[in-house]
């Protein structure tokens, strides 16, 4: 039986989102360390994020599309030469990455004029750490601008979703506002998501009830993760998102014949689907049989 690591003491917005969507997926990803090989969407997102960071490190007058395009070319080439991205550096995959990155960068320049944005280098791709109601939070923020409005921004290189998925994105960026403000007044006044290919900005004001709500989510998630870890019950939550889940082939809610999660058979199947393990897990006393989703365990 494979041993899993213990849950991280610091929670990030993506970890919170992952756990709230499906406990079992969180366990596969964060405790067993399984990772999907980079997809074209992920590669394009990384390239565009890095490009925009580099762009904002230039003097304001140099922040034009031509320079951004050149930067993106350099970053893209370098990224696709890395071993883990190698499979994306050829043929249709490469075209897909380029198409997505192009759409995102072009969309960005339709959304705002970077040469008019006042920004400190210290506010680019910064680590945000805070203790909110006793829970450690850690995240990496794309950007914070302070004039005319103190605003945190998260770039999104996918299309703008609606409903619960949009709520999830807004919540993620609101965590940053909560962490930065944490006792500072007035602090961050607005959060922003820039959906680059759609050329759409989503902005929400920061106000006490919104901060309070995400803080509650943070506390609840911490508690739920700790309880799941203590009881070794990682609840699978079947939804339409299962169709996009890399762990579908080994998920007991999706496959009646799926091996016990964490068993050698399960690990072998994940390896065969092309998933990779990021790091060796820390020793854990858990018995593999208890990793079954709650509804199957009961």
């Amino acid at each position: 039986m494979t041993q899993a690591s213990s849950p991280s003491q610091r929670l990030s917005p993506t970890q919170i989102s992952a756990f709230r969507k499906c406990g079992l997926r969180y366990w596969f990803s964060y405790l067993l360390g399984w990772r999907e090989p980079p997809t074209p969407a992920l590669a394009a997102g990384t390239i565009v994020h890095d490009t925009l960071e580099a762009l904002f490190r230039l003097p304001a007058t140099d922040r034009d599309f031509a320079n951004a395009w050149t930067i993106m070319g350099t970053i893209g080439k370098e990224l696709l030469l890395k071993p883990e991205y190698e499979h994306l550096g050829r043929g249709a995959n490469r075209d897909d990455v380029r198409k997505r990155a192009d759409a995102a960068l072009t969309g960005y320049f339709n959304l705002e004029k970077p040469n008019e944005i006042e920004i400190s280098h210290a506010d680019l791709e910064t680590d945000v750490d805070a203790t909110l109601s006793g829970v450690f939070f850690h995240g990496r923020l794309d950007r914070r601008t302070r004039k005319p409005i103190d605003r945190v921004t998260d770039y999104k290189t996918g299309k703008k979703p609606s409903g619960a998925q949009l709520d999830d994105y807004v919540q993620q960026v609101m965590f940053y506002a909560a962490a930065i403000n944490n006792g500072n007044d007035p602090g961050v006044e607005e959060v922003e998501l820039l959906f680059l290919p759609d050329k759409q900005a989503v902005r929400r004001p920061v106000y006490p009830a919104a901060i309070s709500r995400v803080t509650d989510v943070l506390m609840q998630t911490r508690s739920d993760i700790d309880n799941a870890n203590q009881s070794s019950k990682w609840l699978a939550q079947p939804s339409r998102l299962c169709n996009y889940c890399p762990f579908k082939p080994v998920c007991p809610t999706q496959q009646k014949t799926a091996p016990i999660p964490g068993s050698s058979a399960s690990q072998n199947m994940l390896s065969q689907t092309g998933l990779q393990r990021k790091s060796a897990p820390v020793a854990n006393e858990n018995d593999g049989a208890e990793f079954l989703p709650m509804e199957l365990n009961d």
Binding site: P148, D167, M174, E189, P205
Partner: protein, 584 residues
């Protein structure tokens, strides 16, 4: 009979597919109701035409049930069930709340009383009617079928020579007549055929059975809340035929109607995603989540929520029938000041002291048909307006009382407000809201936006076009105007923050806790409320440290207070939406 060849082919005002092959028009759709969107009704009638964009279906609170459905079901039975409570609960379903059940049982009881009276009247002339399945009037060609329906309970006598339709409303059964609706109803009885029930699938046509024409038809209406009842039409076949002679033109008029009416009802319209008239502003309210149910919100709904969460729930979520009540002095005075200013501004000239002579009514009050006493209660506040009349500023043109509706599609909330005055000043948009109060509160701009969210709403709307929003505050002593520059991003953010704070609780609330007490006074849904308390006789009530005069509706306070406490106290003296109609 309806002549299909005389009817126009409807062209959807948005990208759509399908044919005009099945048109189903309900008689209630032909009724002209202010605030109802005619285009939505026409679009719904064209069963086979689908909008290109995916329907934006309304997410309803499962606790909101159709009360009149229980009335219709029970009246359609050949014999009244012995246990009405059990029947109503079963009909409304397990998600129905006690207030809904209480309202439905009351409505059933009143409807049964009316039916009993009808039966007694009929028996006196040897007429016995029994419920039947629905009638539908069909006009069909090779390519098109038009079905005219009417929702109610149908009756026939034994030899089927007499047909009757009983319609339902909440109140004043004798007053809620609409000629087009009535023509359609009579036409269905006269020219329609009995059906074997509703089609199993909505998109399928009704199946009609062979029927002989009637000799006499009658349409009656029952007010299920006030127990009123009336006969709307009663005549033999010849007089009925004469009455419905214009049915084709009634249907024609309906089909060519292109009148969009954006408003609260847009939240129930699945075409809102395609509608060219409703303003779509994703994220307008600044709320971080999409919420659990689709909502419409207005200032009066917010007031209702601030008075008592449960009152809002009963009135606006469950949509229970509302009672009317007397306005407070503050409300009457506020309305009078408002009406006077609106009338005066129709002239597009600045208001002046000459418009309000010390004795007599003056031109404006006279044209409003006021009494001296009615004017005098508002006189001081009107006088204060002269100092701050917006038309004193050159190049200002104003229009009064215009509705504005915006759909925040991210939160799926439709927000409607009626602007006091909108217009232009120096060719830039201008929006002014007018408030009357007994004392002027010393507040910051942000606090005023929280206190009067409709001002924040105005700023949000104007932000796209630039321009100014003004808040005119009138006291008996003075007038004051706060001006908000909507091109200033900080002002726009403050407005969005104020809207988000104001609507956050209402948007996320799923429990709707009651605040029995002061809010029970003048509560329009207290008849159904299971948590109400009988109001005390006190003339003054303390709300979070603020003294509210129950009689005048004034907030009596000289000390600085928290803005949310002030907003809640203000909600107690602000108007509650009293409009009421059957919600379909």
């Amino acid at each position: 009979m309806i002549n299909l060849t005389e009817l126009p082919q409807w062209q959807p005002p948005w990208s759509a597919s399908g044919a005009n092959s099945l048109i189903r028009i309900s008689s209630s759709a032909l009724k002209k109701v202010p605030g109802n969107c005619e285009v939505e009704k026409v679009a719904k009638a064209h069963i086979d035409i689908k909008q290109e964009l995916k329907d934006w279906s309304t997410r309803k609170d499962t606790r909101a049930v159709f009360l009149l459905g229980a009335v219709q079901k029970i009246l359609a039975l050949p014999r009244t069930p012995a246990n009405i409570d059990e029947f109503v609960r079963k009909e409304l379903g397990v998600s129905a709340t006690e207030p809904s059940i209480r309202a439905a049982k009351s409505m059933v009881s009143r409807a049964l009383d009316a039916v009993e009276e009808f039966a007694a009247e009929d028996l006196a002339v040897d007429l016995v009617l029994t419920p039947t399945t629905d009638f539908v009037c069909v006009a069909a060609s090779d390519t098109q079928r038009l079905e005219l329906t009417s929702w109610g309970v149908y009756y026939q006598n034994e030899d089927k020579s007499f047909r009757e339709l009983r319609l339902f409303c909440y109140k004043n059964a004798d007053l809620t007549r609409d000629r087009n609706q009535l023509v359609a109803a009579v036409n269905i009885l006269l020219n329609g055929a009995i059906t074997d029930g509703s089609p199993a699938i909505w998109t399928e046509p009704y199946q009609t059975l062979p029927t002989n024409p009637p000799q006499r038809v009658r349409v009656r209406q029952i007010g299920c809340v006030d127990g009123s009842a009336a006969t709307l039409f009663d005549g033999d076949a010849a007089s009925a035929a004469a009455f419905v002679g214009g049915i084709t033109s009634v249907v024609h008029e309906f089909l060519v109607n292109t009148h969009f009416v954006p408003g609260n009802s847009c939240v129930e319209c699945r075409f809102r995603v395609s509608c060219p008239e409703i303003v779509k502003s994703p994220g307008f309210l600044g709320l971080p989540t999409s919420g659990k149910i689709s909502k419409s919100l207005s200032k009066t709904m917010l007031n209702s929520y601030q008075r008592c969460n449960y009152q809002y729930f009963l009135a606006s979520v469950l949509k229970l029938p509302k009672s009317e009540f007397e306005s407070t002095q503050a409300l009457v005075r506020g309305q009078a000041v408002h009406d006077w200013i609106m009338k005066a501004h129709e002239r597009q000239i600045p208001c002046s002291i000459a418009d309000l002579p010390e004795s007599g009514l003056g031109e404006i009050a006279s044209s409003l048909g006021w009494t001296q006493e009615y004017l005098d209660q508002a006189r001081s506040w009107i006088s204060s307006h002269f100092q701050v009349c917006p038309l004193q500023t050159p190049n200002t043109k104003l229009r009064c009382e215009e509705s504005r509706t915006t759909w925040d599609s991210d939160a799926d909330v439709v927000i409607t407000t009626r602007a006091d005055e909108v217009g232009v000043r120096n060719e830039k948009p201008l929006w002014r809201e007018i408030k009357t109060t007994s004392t002027l509160q010393q507040l910051t701009e942000a606090e005023y936006l929280l206190l009067y969210p409709q001002v924040a709403f105005a700023i949000g709307i104007q932000a796209d076009s630039g321009g100014t929003v003004e808040l005119e505050i009138l006291t008996p002593e003075s007038g004051k105007v706060l001006s908000f520059d909507t091109t200033d991003p900080r002002i726009v953010l403050a407005a969005r923050k104020a809207m988000a704070i104001s609507f956050d609780a209402i948007h996320h609330d799923e429990e709707f806790l009651a605040s029995p007490g002061m809010a029970c006074i003048n509560c329009p849904v207290s008849s159904w409320c299971d948590k109400r308390v009988e109001s005390a006789n006190s003339k003054e009530v303390i709300v979070e440290g603020l003294t509210v005069d129950v009689v005048t509706g004034e907030i009596i306070n000289d000390q600085p207070v928290a803005i949310d406490a002030l907003a809640r106290a203000l909600a107690l003296v602000e108007p509650v939406d009293q409009t009421d109609d059957v919600p379909f």
